[in-house]
């Protein structure tokens, strides 16, 4: 090597040039890798947003599915089939049979709370029904539903009687569900 350098003084310069080229190549490769990573990041962040939106929609769909399940839904009892309609009488009975259904939906708490008309919160029991505004169908605590929960608007319907005439009374309510976080 030393002999070569002595015979060819330009050998050292060539070596330096090769080194320089190697570094330039390395820099270009790094640049493309970084640019690729940025592009990938933007693509995946878009995917992540879509996934989050889908997750939220699915979570809300669980609430909707619940509202339209035979145990909750109005069915044909209130005229034509209604979507997101919860039969108050049905869920009231269901709330008393919750020990059988406790693991059926895999949810921690299920509650139907009237939005309108505005009244102070009165939990429904068989002694005060229908003069109440919150039916705790499944409850892990005596307190109000808290922590991570999902809600969706539903129609809470029941049959009422006035002067011997039975009519359908529907109120806007919220179906709230909470689940155990994994």
């Amino acid at each position: 090597m030393v002999i070569l350098k002595k015979i060819f003084p330009q050998y050292r310069q060539a070596q330096l040039k090769i080194q320089q080229m190697a570094f330039v190549l390395l820099a270009i490769t790094l640049f493309f890798v970084l640019a690729g990573m940025f592009a990938l990041m933007f693509l995946t962040s878009g995917l992540k947003n879509s996934a989050t939106a889908l997750e939220e929609k699915n979570a809300l769909l669980i609430v909707t599915k619940l509202a339209n399940s035979p145990e909750f839904s109005c069915g044909g009892a209130y005229g034509s089939d209604r979507v997101n309609c919860v039969d108050a009488d049905k869920v009231m009975v269901l709330s008393q049979k919750m020990d059988i259904y406790s693991e059926f939906w895999g949810l921690k708490d299920i509650e139907v709370r009237k939005v309108y008309p505005e009244e102070s919160l009165v939990i429904c029991t068989f002694s005060n029904y229908p003069n109440c505004n919150s039916i705790k169908i499944k409850s892990s605590t005596d307190n109000n539903i808290s922590g991570k929960y999902l809600e969706n608007f539903v129609t809470l319907c029941k049959k009422k009687q006035e002067n011997g005439v039975v009519y359908d009374n529907c109120d806007i309510a919220k179906l709230l569900v909470s689940y155990n976080e994994k």
Binding site: L16, E56, K57, T64, N84, F153, D171
Partner: protein, 164 residues
């Protein structure tokens, strides 16, 4: 001597370049970690707005037309004529009152809430049926839903937008 100096200069450049690469990589890693850990807790969904609109239209009111208690949907049709309730109230006034109260109780626009404002409009054949509800701030980001109902050749459009 000249060659040695050239070599030293090249070495310094290489070290500098190495540092730049390391700094860029570190910044990139930090940026990536922030971007992936930033969870979006926005729970509002147009699906919820749609459900709200459906449930609102099914709400039974205390306006009796002599046959039955009208729902909001039926009250909209009654308002378009316009008719009065059995107790003498004008159907449009009852409709206004109900829609205002229901929207206010359903959408919390107070500070700290994810909803900053909302807008509710009802039109009949493109013309406003009642004065719309405009509450809170109307931002550029919103989730909306609409329901189109046709009755006796008239086209009713109920629109709701929740701004976040």
């Amino acid at each position: 001597m000249k060659n040695k100096m050239k070599n030293k200069k090249a070495q310094e450049e290489m070290v500098g370049f190495g540092f730049i690469v390391i700094i860029v990589a570190v910044v990139l890693i930090v940026f990536l970690s922030i971007a992936f850990n930033n969870s979006d807790n926005d729970t509002l969904d147009s699906f919820k707005v749609e459900s709200f609109l459906q449930a609102t239209l099914a709400q039974t009111t205390d306006c009796n037309n002599g046959i039955k208690y009208l729902t909001i949907k039926e009250l909209i049709f009654a308002c378009s004529k316009p008719t009065i309730c059995q107790d003498g109230r004008i159907s449009c006034n009852v409709l206004n009152e109900y829609l205002g109260d229901i929207s206010e109780l359903s959408w919390n626009t107070q500070s700290g809430s994810s909803t900053l404002g909302y807008k509710l409009n009802i039109t009949k054949n493109g013309e406003p049926l009642i004065e719309g509800f405009y509450v809170g701030n109307m931002t550029r980001t919103y989730l909306g839903a609409s329901q189109e109902i046709t009755k006796s050749g008239d086209n009713f459009l109920i629109e709701f937008k929740a701004y976040s």
